[in-house]
Symmetry: C2
Subunit: 305 residues, 2 copies
């Protein structure tokens, strides 16, 4: 079981280097992160975009383009469709966002002809490593679904559990976070958590432990869980923290980074292959870990469900 | 301007000791926190509840009841009404929760005859002190309003600003947190933040700086704010973090405590006097700071608005 994010690098190295199609590749940040992954033997790179722009950036940041395949595309939409198409036609294993807007990349991922759409909801899975803690914490969804329906949440839970299993957590402990440990008539989210919790107990969400509604304290602290009267396999030892609304997910995820200096990695799950969406605000380490996470998940049979 | 929570003790000491009515006072935790405040000259205590139970607890934790007035009440509802009534009749300055459920105390606070109701919305204001930061962070609402309307949010903002002013922040910087720095058609909260933001700019929310929608990163980090293209008086230097939903507030507040070891204090604002609602999960320091916060606010003309 992986307990630190740098172990993602080892995990990704155990498989074949994964072929990553970088959409709109003329991006300093994404290209240098990809180059580090290539240097570590985790990835091979296919750079999709304007060849002359890519050449300029490569020269500027000192990257040898001989290691890469360059695949021309005239604009962002074409670059996104090309990159995604490389994955769906088996010429690449993964797609990664370069210098283009997330919405353009997602449109290509969801494209009915060349896209990577499945019956699952696409969702963001973040993983945080906190100093002094013994395990990684999964957070979902901090970046993709604004206020998912119950059916979408079931899919989001499965996505997170799939990633957790790829990292060696065979039966992930999923906490459905709310502002109360009790079901409150006035707070619909607490009832919805109860529904999902029971759905999980009935085996409808795959091999997981699940419980909720549950506050953050009860999810993570055995003392708080006991004080609040919560028992079972999840309280006090959750692996996956699932929120009901993106605002809570975002605050939780970014709070860990800003208040506690957490290291993080994240990918989009639920498509035929993981989608790597690093952003400029991420640290260099975070970007590399996200690539390693994507590569590890893409190379493994654990990703099947 | 107060920059650390222990300065609340000094601030509270500058005024007269505040008379605190402890509702259902037979509670180890609340009583010992109150006794510390009494010892520091911040408070005087009126213990409302079953005298024999109060006597037993006082003996158990070694508190001298001669320092206190004991006011008998036969059950929790009566204790709550009595304690609140002492404040509304001018015999006490503040009410504090003892061993009774929050809903019973709130029912008394909102009681039309003896209660402390104003035209304002009652809201929770939490203050966090994080290691290595230069200022206190106000979080609202992490505990009281589940999903407030725009009108309620306006009141919640005013409540938080009032408390911030009592602590010497003359024109508090209020960030309306969302999961995006942009207004997204799909995420109504971002539009609502824009509305409140403009309302604040028009001077409708009192003496504050306000801006939103804004992510946590943009609210707190000048670098992130600049990277995300945010300017103005709030981005990167927010004093008050306001969320749209209690789940986000709770995760933010508890996350600071659990992930970053933040010290916290909190009170309910918006009533005629602050309401002190400590909970068992709070540390002893946190309980004392909450009492000091309530006392400082109650004693000051800053609380007028």
């Amino acid at each position: 079981m992986i307990k630190q994010l740098d172990q993602l690098l080892d995990l990704a190295k155990t498989g074949q280097p994964q072929r990553i199609a970088l959409a709109a590749a003329a991006d300093d940040d994404a290209l240098s992160a990809l180059d580090r992954a290539v240097g570590l033997g985790i990835a091979e790179g296919i750079l999709v975009g304007d060849p002359s722009e890519i050449g300029k950036i490569a020269q500027k940041i000192g990257i040898d383009l001989k290691k890469y395949t360059v695949c021309p595309a005239e604009n962002d939409s074409r670059a996104a469709l090309e990159a995604v198409g490389l994955v769906s036609s088996g010429k690449a294993d993964l797609v990664m966002k370069g210098r283009l807007s997330t919405s353009i990349l997602l449109k290509a991922v969801l494209d009915k002809r060349v896209g990577l759409r499945t019956e699952h909801t696409l969702s963001h899975v973040a993983i945080a490593e906190l100093k002094g803690t013994e395990r990684l914490l999964f957070i979902t969804d901090a970046a993709m679904n604004i206020e998912p329906t119950l059916a979408q949440r079931a899919s989001i839970i499965r996505n997170a559990a799939t990633i957790a299993r790829c990292l060696g957590i065979e039966k992930p402990r999923v906490a459905l976070l709310t502002a109360s440990d009790k079901i409150l008539e006035k707070d619909l989210r607490t009832s919805e958590a109860a529904v999902l919790s029971k759905e999980g107990e009935r085996g409808q969400l795959g091999e997981i432990f699940i419980d909720g509604p549950m506050t953050l304290a009860s999810a993570l602290s055995p003392e708080a869980a006991s004080l609040n009267g919560l028992k079972g396999e999840v309280a006090g030892q959750a692996d996956v923290l699932m929120v009901s609304h993106i605002e809570a997910g975002n605050v939780l995820y970014k709070g860990m980074v800003y208040f506690a200096g957490a290291l993080v990695a994240g990918i989009l799950a639920g498509a035929k292959a993981p989608v790597i969406l690093t952003s400029r605000a991420d640290s260099d380490e975070s970007k590399l870990y996200s690539i390693a996470l994507g590569a590890a998940v893409a190379s493994k049979s654990c990703a099947k469900r």
